[in-house]
Amino acid sequence: MNEGEIIKYLRNRFGNKIRRTDICRDRRFYINVDSDCLKDVCKVIFRDLDARFITSIGVDERQYNGGFLVAHNFAFDSWKLLCSLQTNVDGDSPSVQSITDIVPASNWAEREFRDLLGIEPVGHIYPKRLVLPDGWPDGVYPLRKDFPYDSVPEGFDENRSFKFDDAPPGCVVVPFGPFHPTLDEPAHFRLYVEGEMVRGCEYRGFMAHRGIEKLGESVLTYNEIPMAAERICGICGCVHNVAYAQAVENAVGIMPPPRSEYIRTVMLELERLHSHLLWVGLACHISGFDTLFMHCFRIREPVMWIAEKISGNRKTYALCLIGGVRWDITEELNQELREVIGKLETSWREVVKAVEKDSNLQKRTRGVGIADKKLVKESALLGPVARAAGVPIDSRRDHPYAAYNRVEFDVVVSDFCDVWGRLIVRMYEVFESIKIIRQCLQKIEPGSIQAIITDEIPVGRFGMSSVEAPRGECHHFVITGENNRPRRWRVRAPTYQNLQGVPTMIKDQQLADMTLALASIDPCFSCTDRLETVDIKTGKVRVYSAKELETLFLWR
């Protein structure tokens, strides 16, 4: 089906409850419905039309039309469409029907707009505070437009602490985090353990919350946001950079020149290479196999060197601007890149040959962290986790962007559903990335690398973009605004969805496997915790009154 047919189907079922539909270029469409039938339309889209849930977004539009906007984004992977289902909500006491009973994957997204914007999801199965710190006063919503980005709210209570749920009977509590040698970033998994078996888990995260979305709306401008977006994540930075630039380009119809699209593809695939190589090394390190960890890092190092030669930095490429890229790949760099890729391929083939038949490593990874097709569909799991369960979703093929519609590659799928399956998928995806880079280097067209933008960016346009990060699909949603900055920018990183599936993956498994199961989704907590405000750290300095200083100091 295409967009027109889907809209006709929905209009047949819901008549004039559908207020407005827009079909935009690049196979995206937006539907605005009445708030009371939002849940029914979601049910039809999710169950009957078999869409995949991406995220839910809340927008404060009170200064433009007096209310809030709630959007649920879905993807139709087999028909290559992205859709945003929106509804306008009353401004004074905003509430919307929760869709968590139909789409369990929207659990966190709805809690997030409840915490940050105050839009109450009525009927949510687990309405507990997710994002804001414990002492944050109720009734203060940081992402609303009337809350300045650098203010500390009154009534911040430093003594209020988090209330954990009760443990199931007969279980010992084993805290995992926030400080643990395996985790790079703080996250707290409270495991309920019986003997050596894990019976349940409660996750408490969002400790590395930096307020990037609020900064994007109030402080930074269009061309400065890619630098901030890149720092959402330490290892998939380029993805956020490109996804944001593409979302704005999608919103206003800027076409970046073909050469810049090829360059974006090459850098994205380079990033995928080093991320997967790092992950394989990390998985081996966690299972005690340090030799393979060292070899993976040794093989990965030339990728960092060539990235440094192309973009000036090993990891934060600072690649995109709206309408193009900043760095060019010259002839010599092209040659050098081909050599680096060639050597990488031979070394990696040796490693893969050695690891595939290794029964010692298989014993540690088979049957661990199982996520089957049903969990993938319900919790909208993404990336290698889904592909290892046999679900072939890949945004490079389903929602093509940059130069992916001009290169050929296979989507690697495995049926094991466990950590071993994810290991296999990631190892073979390295070969696919090498294939893509080779094709891009061959097909790259001469030309300029930056589109010439002559007009100011129009206000109030919507744009969406889905980019395949090494961990899954990364989705950015942008509403363009005044003063050279977006009105709303929402980032949904892949780990955000995958983490919601972790408690089910580690249930009834051994404690020793918990680290491995957690690491197998390749968690990037920095990607997950990137929302709302209050940057109390000394980065944003402002003069505080003595009382505020006291509160701050005690909280720290």
């Binding site: 070899h295 029964s359 010692n360 402002r542």
Partner: protein, 174 residues
């Protein structure tokens, strides 16, 4: 068989050899396009503040002491070495250096302060030729960032405090 896999894994190292580099006992220079610490050339700078307005980290401060003198200060604290200042400078007065060993006890080693003599252009921003409408200067007029407390102030004025010409409009952009 697992045994053969293990032998294969042991032998990988023979082909690779020893890869440890002797840094820091031997220097390791950065490649050509490396984005290190930005270096400001005062002789080329025209004081347009394009770099200050387009710095994502707000690390370049601008202060007009009087009509003729503008101070541009680069604070090295949060600089992410993104290179936007160098991109946007109309006079190519900023180059990204090759310095990556910038640890120091004294932040003044990294900071750079330029004192610029401004001729009679009334700081209208016209000397800044922006590459695209997305880099427009939004603050046209006299700037008064707080150098003592190292804070960016999102305002500019059409007059300086001690040179108040008339009850003019207070330009507060952002």
């Amino acid at each position: 068989m697992s045994f053969i896999s293990k032998i294969r894994e042991t032998l990988i190292c023979l082909k690779a050899g020893r890869v440890t580099l002797p840094y820091p006992y031997q220097p390791r220079p950065a490649p050509e396009k490396f984005r290190g610490r930005p270096i400001f050339d005062a002789s080329k700078c025209i004081g347009c503040a394009g770099c200050a307005n387009n710095c994502p980290a707000r690390e370049i401060l601008v202060l007009d002491i009087c009509q003729e003198i503008r101070i541009l200060k680069y604070l090295g604290r949060r600089c992410t070495y993104c290179g936007r200042c160098a991109d946007v400078c109309p006079e190519n007065a900023i180059t990204m250096g090759k310095d990556y060993e910038t640890a120091t006890n004294n932040i003044a080693d990294i900071q750079q302060k330029l004192e610029l003599f401004m001729s009679t252009c009334q700081r209208c921003g016209r000397c800044f030729k922006e590459p695209s409408p997305l880099e427009q200067l939004k603050l046209k007029g006299y700037r008064f960032d707080d150098l003592a407390n190292e804070r960016w102030i999102f305002k500019s004025k059409s007059y300086l405090d001690n040179f108040k010409v008339s009850d003019d409009i207070h330009i507060e952009l952002d």
